[in-house]
Amino acid sequence: GLECDGSSDLCCRQQFYIDFRLIGWNDWIIAPSGYFGNYCEGDCPPYMAGVPGSASSFHTAVVNQYRMRGKSPVSMNSCCIPTKLSTMSMLYFDDEYNIVKRDVPNMIVDECGCA
């Protein structure tokens, strides 16, 4: 997927990092020290929605190719969404001062694409 660097309006991943110390959450979150709150933004013109790599999945790329090349091409309404997510492990205090270590799947957006 593309990284947002301001060079185009196409669907890309915008990095957004939060330092827990800066927002005063470092008293209850032991680790990690921050969170990658990345998100997806940008346009999905038809020619992108049908391209493997920028489409959200190979299946979507194939379907969009059919749409574009079919007898009566339809205008596509495609959306920029996360296509690859990863897990985040967190270590934090709960209200009872227990230390909780939790693996939270699908917590960090790694890549974005057109659905």
């Binding site: 959306c79 934090y92 227990n98 917590m107």
Partner: protein, 245 residues
Amino acid sequence: EAPRGACASCAAARSEDAESGRVDGDLLEAVKRHILTRLQLRERPNITHPVPKAAMVTALRKLHAGKLREDGRVEIPDLDGHPMSNEVLEESSEIISFAEKDDLVTSKSSLFFLISSEGNQNLRVIQATLWLYFKLLPSPTEERGKRKVTTKVYYQEPGLGSKWNLVEKRVELRRSGWHTFTLTEAVRLVFEKGGDRRQNLDVRCDGCEAEGVVPVLLNLNDDSHRPFLVVRARQADAKHRIRKR
């Protein structure tokens, strides 16, 4: 060309350009809310007094090969904020609970754990282990053999006045150190009951006095040997999740 506003992220992106200052603030609040939601917390925990670092580091060191960084924060190998690959499909948790005492618990051999928490409601207990530190007193006679004691951990089932069950273990010691006791059944009963999950324990030690062995229960001056309970759990509804093939 997808019409503008055709999908939530497209519309948000545009408005963000126009007012990036305020929207960043909104975005920050949205991300905070997202983290709390994923941890099943309504709001951030209120930490009024930090857990003694000695107890915390000891427990974490036992749980993982954690290292203490210069700035005093604990570094856990896969918790330094870098994304992990997504092979973890089910949410798993480990809860470390430190032994407490209050005026309900008067005897020296009793202690309790408060395992309940807003974020741990629908967890299914996989394993629960009690860690106790045994201190060896200098032996009056010079023999170097093992000291053998029998430790009995009584745990009360949930509810006032309910019955007590026993976990017994023969412990052999050459030096002072930590020993573990499996309390999975006890903690599972507490979790299944719901409500406030308080686990009362009573620890007895046959032969300890004669052998010069002291189980450290709650000693305010010795936080690094404070008993702690490690509960490994999974999200209770994980069973019903459809696995990707």
